[in-house]
Symmetry: C2
Subunit: 140 residues, 2 copies
Amino acid sequence: MNNPLLDYPGYHLRRAASSRLAELGRHLDGLGLGVTEASILVLIDQNPDLSQADCGRLLSIQRPNLNPLIQKLIQRGLILTAKGQGRALKLRLTPAGHALTPDIIAEFQAHEARIYAAVPERFRADLVAILRSLWTTDGS
Amino acid sequence: MNNPLLDYPGYHLRRAASSRLAELGRHLDGLGLGVTEASILVLIDQNPDLSQADCGRLLSIQRPNLNPLIQKLIQRGLILTAKGQGRALKLRLTPAGHALTPDIIAEFQAHEARIYAAVPERFRADLVAILRSLWTTDGS
DNA sequence: TATTGTTATACTCTATAACTATA
DNA sequence: TATAGTTATAGAGTATAACAATA
Protein backbone atom coordinates (compact mmCIF):
# COMPACT_ATOMS: atom_id res chain seq x y z
CA MET A 1 0.00 0.00 0.00
CA ASN A 2 1.17 3.41 -1.03
CA ASN A 3 0.63 6.53 1.05
CA PRO A 4 1.56 9.61 -0.97
CA LEU A 5 0.71 11.86 1.97
CA LEU A 6 3.85 10.68 3.75
CA ASP A 7 5.88 12.94 1.47
CA TYR A 8 4.03 16.03 2.65
CA PRO A 9 5.24 18.07 5.63
CA GLY A 10 1.68 19.34 6.11
CA TYR A 11 0.47 15.80 6.68
CA HIS A 12 3.15 15.07 9.26
CA LEU A 13 2.42 18.40 10.91
CA ARG A 14 -1.24 17.49 11.28
CA ARG A 15 -0.57 13.98 12.51
CA ALA A 16 2.11 15.08 14.95
CA ALA A 17 -0.09 17.81 16.41
CA SER A 18 -3.12 15.57 16.86
CA SER A 19 -1.21 12.68 18.40
CA ARG A 20 0.72 14.93 20.77
CA LEU A 21 -2.46 16.77 21.76
CA ALA A 22 -4.20 13.49 22.50
CA GLU A 23 -1.19 12.34 24.49
CA LEU A 24 -1.23 15.48 26.60
CA GLY A 25 -4.95 15.11 27.09
CA ARG A 26 -4.47 11.64 28.54
CA HIS A 27 -1.84 12.95 30.94
CA LEU A 28 -4.22 15.68 32.09
CA ASP A 29 -7.06 13.23 32.69
CA GLY A 30 -5.92 12.75 36.26
CA LEU A 31 -6.48 16.45 36.92
CA GLY A 32 -9.97 16.35 35.44
CA LEU A 33 -9.07 18.99 32.87
CA GLY A 34 -8.95 19.22 29.12
CA VAL A 35 -5.93 20.69 27.37
CA THR A 36 -7.69 23.93 26.60
CA GLU A 37 -9.07 24.29 30.13
CA ALA A 38 -5.62 23.69 31.58
CA SER A 39 -4.14 26.27 29.23
CA ILE A 40 -6.71 28.83 30.34
CA LEU A 41 -5.84 28.28 33.98
CA VAL A 42 -2.11 28.73 33.34
CA LEU A 43 -2.80 31.87 31.35
CA ILE A 44 -4.93 33.41 34.10
CA ASP A 45 -2.39 32.35 36.69
CA GLN A 46 0.30 34.35 34.93
CA ASN A 47 -2.03 37.20 33.93
CA PRO A 48 -4.37 37.96 36.83
CA ASP A 49 -7.38 40.11 35.93
CA LEU A 50 -7.18 39.00 32.31
CA SER A 51 -10.48 39.48 30.47
CA GLN A 52 -12.24 36.73 28.55
CA ALA A 53 -11.62 38.59 25.31
CA ASP A 54 -7.88 38.92 25.98
CA CYS A 55 -7.70 35.30 27.07
CA GLY A 56 -9.34 34.30 23.82
CA ARG A 57 -6.99 36.47 21.79
CA LEU A 58 -3.93 34.92 23.41
CA LEU A 59 -5.17 31.40 22.69
CA SER A 60 -6.87 32.26 19.40
CA ILE A 61 -10.19 31.03 20.75
CA GLN A 62 -13.13 33.10 19.66
CA ARG A 63 -15.33 34.60 22.34
CA PRO A 64 -18.40 32.42 21.68
CA ASN A 65 -16.26 29.32 21.98
CA LEU A 66 -14.37 30.45 25.04
CA ASN A 67 -17.40 31.40 27.10
CA PRO A 68 -18.69 27.91 27.94
CA LEU A 69 -15.19 26.87 28.98
CA ILE A 70 -14.97 29.82 31.35
CA GLN A 71 -18.42 29.04 32.79
CA LYS A 72 -17.37 25.47 33.39
CA LEU A 73 -14.24 26.55 35.24
CA ILE A 74 -16.29 28.97 37.35
CA GLN A 75 -18.77 26.24 38.25
CA ARG A 76 -15.91 23.97 39.31
CA GLY A 77 -14.70 26.72 41.59
CA LEU A 78 -11.36 27.10 39.83
CA ILE A 79 -11.74 30.70 38.67
CA LEU A 80 -13.88 33.70 39.60
CA THR A 81 -14.76 37.00 37.99
CA ALA A 82 -14.82 40.67 38.98
CA LYS A 83 -16.12 43.69 37.08
CA GLY A 84 -13.64 45.27 34.68
CA GLN A 85 -13.74 48.02 32.07
CA GLY A 86 -16.97 48.28 30.15
CA ARG A 87 -18.71 44.98 30.18
CA ALA A 88 -15.41 43.14 30.58
CA LEU A 89 -14.94 40.65 33.40
CA LYS A 90 -11.61 40.25 35.15
CA LEU A 91 -10.64 36.62 35.61
CA ARG A 92 -8.72 35.30 38.61
CA LEU A 93 -7.88 31.93 40.03
CA THR A 94 -9.59 30.79 43.20
CA PRO A 95 -7.43 29.11 45.86
CA ALA A 96 -8.51 25.79 44.39
CA GLY A 97 -7.45 26.98 40.95
CA HIS A 98 -4.15 28.22 42.32
CA ALA A 99 -3.54 24.88 43.99
CA LEU A 100 -4.00 23.14 40.65
CA THR A 101 -1.67 25.15 38.44
CA PRO A 102 1.66 23.70 39.62
CA ASP A 103 0.41 20.25 38.64
CA ILE A 104 -0.74 21.56 35.26
CA ILE A 105 2.58 23.26 34.60
CA ALA A 106 4.40 20.09 35.62
CA GLU A 107 2.37 18.13 33.06
CA PHE A 108 3.03 20.77 30.41
CA GLN A 109 6.75 20.62 31.06
CA ALA A 110 6.78 16.84 31.01
CA HIS A 111 4.94 17.04 27.71
CA GLU A 112 7.47 19.43 26.21
CA ALA A 113 10.29 17.21 27.46
CA ARG A 114 8.76 14.25 25.64
CA ILE A 115 8.54 16.30 22.45
CA TYR A 116 12.12 17.52 22.67
CA ALA A 117 13.31 14.00 23.37
CA ALA A 118 11.57 12.76 20.23
CA VAL A 119 13.40 14.99 17.75
CA PRO A 120 16.99 14.40 16.65
CA GLU A 121 19.30 16.18 19.01
CA ARG A 122 20.73 18.60 16.47
CA PHE A 123 17.32 20.18 15.86
CA ARG A 124 16.26 20.65 19.47
CA ALA A 125 17.66 24.13 19.96
CA ASP A 126 15.77 25.36 16.90
CA LEU A 127 12.58 23.39 17.36
CA VAL A 128 10.44 26.24 18.67
CA ALA A 129 11.70 28.57 15.96
CA ILE A 130 10.96 26.02 13.26
CA LEU A 131 7.44 25.35 14.51
CA ARG A 132 6.76 29.04 15.04
CA SER A 133 7.71 29.71 11.44
CA LEU A 134 5.01 27.27 10.34
CA TRP A 135 2.14 29.32 11.74
CA THR A 136 -0.21 31.21 9.54
CA THR A 137 -1.54 34.48 10.90
CA ASP A 138 -4.58 34.77 8.68
CA GLY A 139 -7.57 32.48 9.28
CA SER A 140 -7.43 30.48 12.54
CA MET B 1 0.25 40.39 28.57
CA ASN B 2 2.29 37.30 29.11
CA ASN B 3 1.77 34.09 27.18
CA PRO B 4 3.81 31.29 28.76
CA LEU B 5 2.60 28.85 26.12
CA LEU B 6 4.82 30.54 23.55
CA ASP B 7 7.81 28.78 25.10
CA TYR B 8 6.31 25.37 24.40
CA PRO B 9 6.98 23.52 21.13
CA GLY B 10 3.73 21.60 21.66
CA TYR B 11 1.76 24.82 21.55
CA HIS B 12 3.42 25.99 18.34
CA LEU B 13 2.88 22.54 16.87
CA ARG B 14 -0.83 22.72 17.57
CA ARG B 15 -1.20 26.27 16.30
CA ALA B 16 0.83 25.63 13.17
CA ALA B 17 -1.13 22.50 12.31
CA SER B 18 -4.54 24.11 12.80
CA SER B 19 -3.72 27.26 10.86
CA ARG B 20 -2.16 25.35 7.99
CA LEU B 21 -5.07 22.92 7.89
CA ALA B 22 -7.55 25.78 7.76
CA GLU B 23 -5.48 27.41 5.02
CA LEU B 24 -5.53 24.25 2.93
CA GLY B 25 -9.25 23.92 3.54
CA ARG B 26 -9.84 27.36 2.08
CA HIS B 27 -7.81 26.50 -0.99
CA LEU B 28 -9.87 23.33 -1.50
CA ASP B 29 -13.17 25.18 -1.20
CA GLY B 30 -13.18 25.75 -4.93
CA LEU B 31 -13.21 21.99 -5.50
CA GLY B 32 -16.09 21.48 -3.07
CA LEU B 33 -14.03 19.13 -0.94
CA GLY B 34 -12.82 19.03 2.63
CA VAL B 35 -9.20 18.22 3.40
CA THR B 36 -10.03 14.71 4.56
CA GLU B 37 -12.25 14.00 1.56
CA ALA B 38 -9.55 15.20 -0.79
CA SER B 39 -6.99 13.00 0.98
CA ILE B 40 -9.24 9.98 0.59
CA LEU B 41 -9.56 10.58 -3.14
CA VAL B 42 -5.80 10.86 -3.59
CA LEU B 43 -5.29 7.71 -1.58
CA ILE B 44 -7.77 5.72 -3.66
CA ASP B 45 -6.33 7.16 -6.83
CA GLN B 46 -2.92 5.76 -5.96
CA ASN B 47 -4.28 2.55 -4.40
CA PRO B 48 -7.15 1.28 -6.55
CA ASP B 49 -9.32 -1.38 -4.86
CA LEU B 50 -8.33 -0.15 -1.43
CA SER B 51 -10.83 -1.19 1.25
CA GLN B 52 -12.46 1.22 3.67
CA ALA B 53 -10.59 -0.40 6.54
CA ASP B 54 -7.23 -0.02 4.84
CA CYS B 55 -8.03 3.53 3.83
CA GLY B 56 -8.84 4.31 7.44
CA ARG B 57 -5.66 2.67 8.65
CA LEU B 58 -3.53 4.72 6.27
CA LEU B 59 -5.15 7.95 7.40
CA SER B 60 -5.64 6.90 11.02
CA ILE B 61 -9.37 7.42 10.70
CA GLN B 62 -11.44 4.85 12.52
CA ARG B 63 -13.99 2.91 10.55
CA PRO B 64 -17.10 4.44 12.10
CA ASN B 65 -15.75 7.91 11.30
CA LEU B 66 -14.64 7.08 7.80
CA ASN B 67 -17.89 5.51 6.67
CA PRO B 68 -20.00 8.67 6.31
CA LEU B 69 -17.19 10.33 4.36
CA ILE B 70 -17.11 7.40 1.93
CA GLN B 71 -20.90 7.48 1.57
CA LYS B 72 -20.76 11.18 0.78
CA LEU B 73 -18.12 10.64 -1.91
CA ILE B 74 -20.20 7.83 -3.41
CA GLN B 75 -23.30 10.02 -3.49
CA ARG B 76 -21.34 12.74 -5.27
CA GLY B 77 -20.33 10.22 -7.89
CA LEU B 78 -16.61 10.52 -7.16
CA ILE B 79 -15.97 6.95 -6.02
CA LEU B 80 -17.66 3.57 -6.40
CA THR B 81 -17.41 0.20 -4.70
CA ALA B 82 -17.07 -3.43 -5.71
CA LYS B 83 -17.15 -6.58 -3.64
CA GLY B 84 -13.86 -7.59 -2.04
CA GLN B 85 -12.65 -10.22 0.41
CA GLY B 86 -15.15 -11.04 3.15
CA ARG B 87 -17.42 -8.13 3.69
CA ALA B 88 -14.79 -5.72 2.45
CA LEU B 89 -15.59 -3.28 -0.33
CA LYS B 90 -13.03 -2.30 -2.94
CA LEU B 91 -12.95 1.43 -3.56
CA ARG B 92 -12.24 3.00 -6.91
CA LEU B 93 -12.50 6.43 -8.45
CA THR B 94 -15.22 7.13 -10.98
CA PRO B 95 -14.27 9.10 -14.10
CA ALA B 96 -15.48 12.20 -12.29
CA GLY B 97 -13.28 11.35 -9.32
CA HIS B 98 -10.37 10.70 -11.60
CA ALA B 99 -10.88 14.05 -13.30
CA LEU B 100 -10.69 15.77 -9.93
CA THR B 101 -7.51 14.31 -8.53
CA PRO B 102 -4.98 16.31 -10.57
CA ASP B 103 -6.51 19.50 -9.19
CA ILE B 104 -6.39 18.11 -5.66
CA ILE B 105 -2.76 17.08 -6.00
CA ALA B 106 -1.93 20.50 -7.43
CA GLU B 107 -3.49 22.12 -4.35
CA PHE B 108 -1.62 19.75 -2.06
CA GLN B 109 1.67 20.57 -3.73
CA ALA B 110 1.00 24.30 -3.59
CA HIS B 111 0.24 23.85 0.10
CA GLU B 112 3.49 22.03 0.74
CA ALA B 113 5.37 24.69 -1.21
CA ARG B 114 3.91 27.38 1.05
CA ILE B 115 4.98 25.42 4.11
CA TYR B 116 8.51 24.88 2.85
CA ALA B 117 8.77 28.54 1.93
CA ALA B 118 7.80 29.54 5.48
CA VAL B 119 10.63 27.75 7.27
CA PRO B 120 14.21 29.03 7.32
CA GLU B 121 16.05 27.65 4.35
CA ARG B 122 18.58 25.63 6.33
CA PHE B 123 15.83 23.44 7.83
CA ARG B 124 13.90 22.68 4.66
CA ALA B 125 15.74 19.53 3.69
CA ASP B 126 15.06 18.04 7.12
CA LEU B 127 11.55 19.38 7.64
CA VAL B 128 9.71 16.14 6.91
CA ALA B 129 12.11 14.15 9.10
CA ILE B 130 11.69 16.59 11.97
CA LEU B 131 7.91 16.55 11.78
CA ARG B 132 7.80 12.80 11.38
CA SER B 133 9.84 12.41 14.54
CA LEU B 134 7.15 14.34 16.43
CA TRP B 135 4.44 11.74 15.84
CA THR B 136 3.23 9.50 18.58
CA THR B 137 2.23 6.02 17.55
CA ASP B 138 0.03 5.20 20.54
CA GLY B 139 -3.37 6.86 20.82
CA SER B 140 -4.42 8.77 17.68
C1' DT C 1 -14.25 -16.49 15.26
C1' DA C 2 -12.04 -12.40 13.18
C1' DT C 3 -12.62 -8.73 10.08
C1' DT C 4 -15.47 -5.37 7.67
C1' DG C 5 -19.11 -2.29 7.05
C1' DT C 6 -22.68 0.22 9.46
C1' DT C 7 -25.51 2.92 12.84
C1' DA C 8 -25.89 5.55 16.95
C1' DT C 9 -23.99 8.56 20.10
C1' DA C 10 -21.16 11.95 22.37
C1' DC C 11 -17.47 15.10 23.15
C1' DT C 12 -14.11 18.60 21.54
C1' DC C 13 -12.81 22.30 18.60
C1' DT C 14 -14.12 25.72 15.46
C1' DA C 15 -17.16 29.22 12.82
C1' DT C 16 -21.07 32.56 12.18
C1' DA C 17 -24.95 35.25 13.40
C1' DA C 18 -27.30 37.75 16.58
C1' DC C 19 -28.51 39.40 21.01
C1' DT C 20 -27.43 42.20 25.52
C1' DA C 21 -24.62 45.32 28.34
C1' DT C 22 -21.41 48.99 29.14
C1' DA C 23 -17.79 52.66 28.41
C1' DT D 1 -20.46 53.39 18.30
C1' DA D 2 -17.05 49.99 19.65
C1' DT D 3 -16.01 46.35 22.72
C1' DA D 4 -17.31 42.50 25.86
C1' DG D 5 -20.07 38.86 27.25
C1' DT D 6 -23.69 35.60 25.94
C1' DT D 7 -26.74 32.30 23.47
C1' DA D 8 -27.80 29.45 19.65
C1' DT D 9 -26.40 26.76 16.01
C1' DA D 10 -23.72 24.19 12.74
C1' DG D 11 -19.86 21.69 11.01
C1' DA D 12 -15.61 19.10 11.34
C1' DG D 13 -12.78 15.58 13.85
C1' DT D 14 -12.53 11.93 17.07
C1' DA D 15 -13.97 8.08 20.46
C1' DT D 16 -16.74 4.00 22.09
C1' DA D 17 -20.32 0.58 21.94
C1' DA D 18 -22.98 -2.34 19.43
C1' DC D 19 -25.00 -4.74 15.45
C1' DA D 20 -24.98 -7.11 10.68
C1' DA D 21 -22.48 -9.58 7.05
C1' DT D 22 -18.93 -12.56 5.27
C1' DA D 23 -14.61 -15.42 4.87
